[in-house]
Symmetry: C2
């Protein structure tokens, strides 16, 4: 059965906020530098007040070695940003202009 | 620009685990009885080992009055389960058989 439902959000952004202790074999997005990136993302979105864009913090997204990780649904686009400028580019290009940032997209695998 | 990317998960389930203190004006999914439901969901999924199905805990999904809330992407289907039997039905009907459970679907609004 295919069921078409109205989409609540145009871009629902999920950001991994998992933090494991230093030296943990799996590592974690927070250990890999996620916190300042997600803070910047939150600030940018707050400032722009884009309609239909929401950001939700999450627990582990399952691909710790690929962190920092965020995923944008319903498109299902996964990003691995590394620098504040990456966040700025994703916000402007993807969420404002509708053009995903291909150089920062990954397809994570276990 | 439309960008088609491979979907990492067929069903990526996000469950709100926000807990606010008793009496908080916004309430929270945990205050509304989410915890045993998400535990049951996790146990069912663990037992069935369905390929392409993943469950991620989240912070606030923005619609506290509608909790307990979970959303399934990339479909963008939001569920408001209330009883353990609701979880069992969602797992079997939606994630095993591919038929969303219409009676439990909501389209949350602020």
């Amino acid at each position: 059965m295919t069921l078409e439902v109205p989409q609540v959000f145009k871009y629902h952004i999920f950001t991994c906020s998992t933090k494991r202790p230093a030296g943990h074999p799996r590592g974690s997005c927070m250990e890999r530098g996620a916190q300042p990136l997600w803070e910047r993302l939150g600030q940018k979105l707050e400032a722009k007040q884009l309609p239909g864009v929401s950001m939700t913090m999450t627990g582990c997204l399952s691909f710790c070695q690929a962190g920092p990780l965020m995923v944008v649904y319903p498109e299902g686009i996964w990003y691995h940003p590394e620098k504040p400028e990456d966040i700025d580019e994703i916000v402007q290009s993807h969420f404002v202009e509708g053009n995903p940032v291909e150089r920062l997209i990954i397809v994570p695998q276990r």
